[in-house]
Every structure is written in structure tokens, then in C-alpha cells.
């Protein structure tokens, strides 16, 4: 095989050259090009389009801007934002049965739960924390939960000044169980032992 064949990048014989050099050859052609460019009215078509867009944006409610903190776009029901721990609707008891599947399946090891057997010899969840600094919001925990106890909510605004704020507390979860001080998972991305000393108010509230 000769080198020329290797250099031929055309895939097939019916390869179409898109960029054609159809430059005007004669003066008459150039003149026609000038005429068509200046008189054809393409410029005014452009002006009509922008005016139409302005009209529709102002009067037909086609404005694309979303004024974010004031208005928010609806998010999909399957959006995976900050988790919620749900309760049973009838009794108000926690749905979580403390099986530990979420803790087990969590691929970033950010879920930590402490359970015990209570007086009625039922399993009781004493503490349940999710380290938000580590959570990748994969949704495995919600998927694996047999009781639909842990789900993903729609709250996506969880920016903060400090990493300590990211480790999920009880107030982030919709559990009103009065769980005590949280036990944090002791690994990468968790709060440091002296996190309490480092915590300060957000700048806005100084």
C-alpha cells in the first residue's frame, strides 16, 4: 500500500465537500454578490426576529430569566436532594426500623445510625446522621430502604461556610424524635474533633 492511500481520510467515495470555494470570479459576479448582500433584506429579517423576541418576551410571557432567590424552578419529583426521614402517617411513629441497610449500602460511608432494642423489644433508632460533606446523593439509601423511611427531599440549597454545617443534623432530617447529640462518622470528610470551637455564625447574622 502506498502512503497516499493512508493519507486519504475520506471515508467513502461519496464524500461531500461542504465548504466550497464559490467565490465570485468576475467583476459582474462580485457586483451581484454585493447587491444580494446589501439589498436582499437579510439584515431586516434579523431585525424582525429580535423585535419579535422582544415582543414575545414582554407580552407573551416568554422571558427566560428566572429571578432565582425570589422564584425557583420546579424540580422533578425524583430529584435527589437533602434526605428526609419520614414518619408513619397514622401513628406518627418513625418509619425507620433500624435495619441498617442504608448504612450498609452507602457507597460513601456517610450514613451512621445507632440502634437499640427498646422496652417493647422493638428496634429503636437512637441516632441517625448523614454526613452531607461526603454524601454523593446517589440515592442508594432511599432505594434500599424497605420501609420508605429515608427518602430524598427537594431541598437543594445547602451551601454553607463551613464543612461542619454539612454533616446532617436532626433538623435537616424531618425526624422530630428529639435525638440527642449526634455521633458523626469518623472518616474522610467528617467533622473534626474540635469542630464545636470552630463553629461561628454565618456572616449575615454578625
Amino acid at each position: 500500500m502506498e502512503l497516499k492511500k493512508f493519507k486519504n481520510r475520506n471515508i467513502s467515495e461519496d464524500y461531500i465537500v461542504v465548504q466550497e470555494d464559490n467565490y465570485p470570479k468576475t467583476n459582474w459576479d462580485m457586483f451581484k454578490q454585493v447587491l444580494s448582500r446589501s439589498i436582499k433584506g437579510e439584515l431586516f429579517v434579523g431585525m424582525r426576529i429580535t423585535f419579535g423576541i422582544m415582543y414575545r418576551a414582554l407580552f407573551k410571557d416568554e422571558m427566560a430569566t428566572v429571578q432565582y432567590p425570589k422564584e425557583k424552578l420546579p424540580i422533578g419529583p425524583r430529584y435527589r436532594a437533602v434526605h428526609k426521614l419520614l414518619r408513619l402517617l397514622e401513628s406518627g411513629e418513625e418509619r425507620c426500623i433500624g435495619c441498617g441497610l442504608c448504612e450498609k449500602i452507602c457507597i460513601s460511608n456517610c450514613i451512621r445510625m445507632e440502634t437499640r432494642i427498646d422496652e417493647n423489644s422493638r428496634k429503636e433508632v437512637m441516632q441517625y446522621t448523614i454526613n452531607m460533606g461526603r454524601c454523593i446523593f446517589c440515592g442508594y439509601c432511599a432505594e434500599v430502604c424497605p420501609e420508605l423511611a429515608i427518602v430524598h427531599g427537594g431541598r437543594y440549597e445547602n451551601s454553607s461556610e463551613q464543612r461542619a454545617h454539612f454533616s446532617l443534623k436532626e433538623d435537616i432530617l424531618s425526624s422530630a424524635n428529639g435525638l440527642g447529640t449526634q455521633l458523626e462518622f469518623d472518616g474522610y470528610g467528617s467533622v473534626s474533633p474540635d469542630a464545636d470551637k470552630k463553629i461561628k455564625k454565618t456572616p449575615l447574622s454578625y
Binding site: 454585493v34 439584515l43 429580535t50 427566560a64
Partner: protein, 330 residues
């Protein structure tokens, strides 16, 4: 008599300066709004009602910024250049009649600072001097983008100035006077007497030259953001940059007033609309067209600008002058 004229002139100067400085600021707001609407955005909304105080915020920012003069620039020229643009933009307005005569407190006010008999010539030439601002600013900046912007200023000046002068020649031949008031009075008596109907080609050519003179979009070569950072104004900041800006928008108003006065019947009453309102409406429409084209059209290259001005527009303008002359002779 003498003192009264002096006082009257000073008052007029102050009013024109104040009104057009404010209008220049306001036009930036309008421009941002209209460009935003044409791109389905909202434009400034947060500062004040409908974002109106954005102008004030911008002004405060410009005034409070440090006046930076970079190393290696030619200091004197660098500092003077924005003054040229801003001052010539306002000097050009001194020969523009903004409104018809009106009476105030039993005193007839002629809303023109000085009715010189070469009004059009004066406005055009001072407007052309204004391009020394970008030129000198660009060349003194010791910055390659600014230098390119300055070079393009020279190109643009040489290109459009011929067209604007020659295109105005034909209507001036018909009117027989260079005073803008005479030109305006020539078109008295309704829409059918407007010069645009007898000189449509001259109107088109002059509007195109006006776009080039005010650096509006199709001919926005001096500070073509996509190519030249900010062109001649790259090294400028704070109030010196702001003066370039004010000058540019004041020029926009001057050109709009010129087009309205020379081609669109000026401040002659229009149907039931009184003259003063009529010219304001015309100028508003023209400025809207300037903004509209900015939202719609792409820039052209400098060589295309020269090609257009020298090879297309100038022959057309000369042809127009010739035809007008023959029609007037026979």
C-alpha cells in the same frame, strides 16, 4: 442686551450639559434593558424600581474608582484623550436646535445655543474632531489592543467622513443653507415635505455614516469586545472611561437629532403632535433603531467597512449629488 444674551447662553449651556449628561446615563439603562428584552432577559432589575437606580450605582462606581494611569503610557495625552471625546460631543450640540421656539415667562426662548449659519458643517466637523479621543487614547495607551483600536479609529474616520459629508450635500443643495433651523423650516407643512422623500438615498447613506460615527454596532470596530478586549479603552478605568462613554452616548443623541432635523422634518408639528414632542419622538425612535440594530446585526471587519464606504457608499453619494444637481437645473 449684551448681558442678557450672555446669561441666556450660559443658562442654555448648563441646561444642555445637565440634560444630555443625564440622558447619556439614562440611555445606558435603556440600552441594557432593550438588549436584554431582545435576548429574553430582564436587564437591570434589582437597584431601585425597575432597576432605574442602576445608573446612579454605575455613576457612583465610576466616580469612586481609582484613576489608574498605567506605566509606559504617554501620560499627558492619555489623560486628555477622554476629555476630547466628552467635550466635543457636547460642543457639537451648541449648533443643534433641539426644540421650536417657545415662550417662557413672556420671554421668547430659542432652544439653540448659537444659531450659526454653518450649523451642519460645525456639528459634523466637531463630531469628527471627537474621534481624536479614541485615536489619541488608543495610541498613547502602550497596549496592543488599544493601539489596534486607535488604528481602526483612523480607518473609520477616513471612511465614513467622506460619506456623511457627500450624502448631506444633496439635501443642502435643495435647501440652500447650512443652518439647521433653515433646513428644518424648509420641511414645514407636513410629512410629505420631509427631505427623506426627496432624498431617500442620502438619508440611508447619512444614517449609515452616523452608525460609523457613533461606533454603533455594525461598525463597532473601535472597541470590538470579541477582537480587541475593549479597543482604545482597554487601559482606561473609572471616570476617564466614563467620559468616553458619556461622549459616545452624547454623540448618539447629536446624530439622532441631526437625522431628525435634516431628513425627518425636525421640530415641525406632526399632525396633532406639537413640534417639540414630535422631535423627541423621532429622536427616541432613532435611538431605539440604534439599539435594535445592535441587538440584531453582527459586526463587520475593518476592511469591509473601508470597502463599503469607499467603493459603494461614496460613489452612490456622488451619484446622488449629480442627479440632484441635474434635477434642480432642469
Amino acid at each position: 442686551m449684551e448681558t442678557s444674551i450672555i446669561i441666556e447662553t450660559i443658562v442654555k449651556v448648563v441646561v444642555v450639559l445637565a440634560v444630555f449628561s443625564a440622558l447619556a446615563g439614562f440611555t445606558t439603562y435603556i440600552e441594557r434593558k432593550i438588549l436584554a428584552f431582545m435576548q429574553r432577559r430582564l436587564g437591570p432589575t434589582n437597584v431601585g424600581p425597575y432597576g432605574l437606580l442602576q445608573i446612579v450605582a454605575d455613576g457612583i462606581k465610576l466616580f469612586c474608582k481609582e484613576d489608574i494611569i498605567p506605566a509606559n503610557v504617554n501620560k499627558k495625552i492619555f489623560m486628555v484623550a477622554p476629555l476630547i471625546t466628552a467635550s466635543t460631543a457636547f460642543i457639537a450640540m451648541s449648533a443643534v436646535p433641539f426644540f421650536p421656539e417657545f415662550e417662557m415667562f413672556g420671554y421668547t426662548v430659542r432652544p439653540i445655543i448659537s444659531d450659526i449659519n454653518v450649523g451642519v458643517l460645525f456639528v459634523l466637523s466637531v463630531g469628527a474632531v471627537g474621534l481624536y479621543g479614541p485615536l489619541l487614547g488608543g495610541m498613547s495607551s502602550a497596549n496592543k489592543w488599544a493601539l489596534l483600536g486607535g488604528a481602526r479609529t483612523a480607518i473609520q474616520l477616513l471612511s465614513y467622513e467622506v460619506v456623511s459629508g457627500l450624502s448631506l450635500l444633496a439635501p443642502l443643495m435643495m435647501v440652500g443653507s447650512l443652518s439647521l433651523i433653515d433646513i428644518n423650516n424648509y420641511q414645514a407643512g407636513g410629512v410629505s415635505n420631509w427631505i427623506i422623500w426627496s432624498q431617500p438615498l442620502a438619508f440611508l447613506l447619512f444614517v449609515m455614516a452616523g452608525f460609523a460615527e457613533t461606533n454603533r454596532t455594525p461598525f463597532d470596530l473601535l472597541e470590538h469586545e470579541a477582537e480587541l478586549v475593549a479597543g482604545y479603552a482597554t487601559e482606561y478605568s473609572g471616570m476617564r472611561w466614563g467620559m468616553f462613554f458619556i461622549g459616545e452616548y452624547a454623540n448618539l443623541f447629536t446624530i439622532s437629532f441631526l437625522i431628525a432635523l435634516i431628513f425627518l422634518g425636525g421640530f415641525e408639528p406632526l399632525w396633532f403632535i406639537p413640534g417639540g414632542l414630535a422631535i423627541v419622538l423621532k429622536v427616541m425612535f432613532l435611538i431605539f433603531v440604534f439599539l435594535w440594530t445592535r441587538a440584531s446585526w453582527p459586526h463587520i471587519r475593518p476592511d469591509q467597512l473601508m470597502w463599503l464606504c469607499w467603493k459603494i457608499l461614496m460613489p452612490l453619494a456622488i451619484l446622488n449629488v449629480l442627479v440632484t444637481g441635474f434635477v434642480m437645473m432642469f
